[in-house]
Symmetry: C2
């Protein structure tokens, strides 16, 4: 029985994260991950019962870092809820200009595994996206926005739309456009007495 917090296990997940994100699930072999982690395939299979398990572990490891990043962008932005929401998109557009950027690992994995809806990695992705939506709804609620849940969902749809369309057009202008749309939606649900700060 391998330990859950083993440093070897961490090394494997780190290697898998880099390769899966860069190339996609199907294009990365277990051999390649083992080599990148500096150990043999047999050792990898001692710590994970299958490649599918490793894919789920990869996404599980991205849950908290991703949420923290987004929350950081939101918190750091000046202005009202509309500005803070738009800041998420501005920062996303900046990140997307980096040559190693390949979209959202959760969405790309779900797209690649679309024919296996019950796959453990997709469940991890679903939980992550729900966590983000819930966090955002809470922040919007704190800012006194009307219908924070419905609004959070619409913003999530614009974010994930940005991720997807970027992989098609490779043009960050789409992310900026999504940010303006999101800000419009926030203002549409902000009491008309204070639409800007």
């Amino acid at each position: 029985m391998p330990e859950a917090q083993s440093p070897t296990r961490k090394r494997i997940v780190d290697a898998a994260t880099r390769l899966f994100y860069a190339e996609g699930i199907g294009r990365v072999s277990v051999d390649a991950i083992a080599e990148k982690a500096g150990l043999t395939k047999r050792t990898l299979y001692y710590h994970f019962k299958s490649k599918d398990d490793l894919v789920a572990a990869y996404l599980d490891g991205r849950d908290q870092p991703n949420l923290t990043l987004m929350a950081g962008w939101f918190d750091a932005a000046e202005g009202g809820a509309d500005r803070k929401v738009e800041a998420i998109f501005t920062n996303l557009a900046r990140a997307a200009r980096h040559p190693k950027w390949k979209g959202c690992g959760f969405l790309r994995t779900a797209a690649e595994l679309a024919s296996m809806p019950g796959h453990p990695a997709i469940k991890v992705g679903s939980r992550h996206k729900s966590n983000f939506e819930t966090w955002l709804a809470g922040e919007l609620s704190n800012h006194g926005v009307e219908e924070p849940q419905a609004l959070a969902r619409e913003i999530v749809l614009l974010i994930d739309g940005s991720f997807s369309i970027m992989l098609i057009h490779r043009n960050p202008d789409y992310i900026e456009a999504a940010g303006r749309g999101a800000a419009t939606l926030v203002r549409a649900r902000t009491s008309s007495t204070r639409s800007r700060t």
Copy 2:
């Protein structure tokens, strides 16, 4: 030199379309496509110079049918631009409830090939998405909406966000939510004298 309109070629593309959409690019072998088309792999390679070429042909064949479907939904809907836009989402949600539905083939292919940004299939996808955005902007313009291009882009982002998030949550409520968001954005750009029909 194979003919561009050969019936054999069409049979191959039809088989590829079914398999690629159902399983994804990487999970479908050229052998499987040849078998489904009822011919040998050598014949397939007479008509297409590589698997990548066949992937591009698959998406190219989906361009017009997809546009026609969306335009049909838009045209058939009663009411103003907000209602017509929302109808696209309502119909999309209905389609997404079908068990064989697996999202948008263009986006799924782009996600799977994210590490090969110049892939011919991604260029085909980019052209298709641009075609749709341009068509939608034209319709919105015809309906007297302000800033039809910016609005069309925001709606496209909500549509593609719907496609993506559906593959994660498998819950069509998200598509309906996107439709309500899109309608809100249309109304925000409709002269305040007539916000509904």
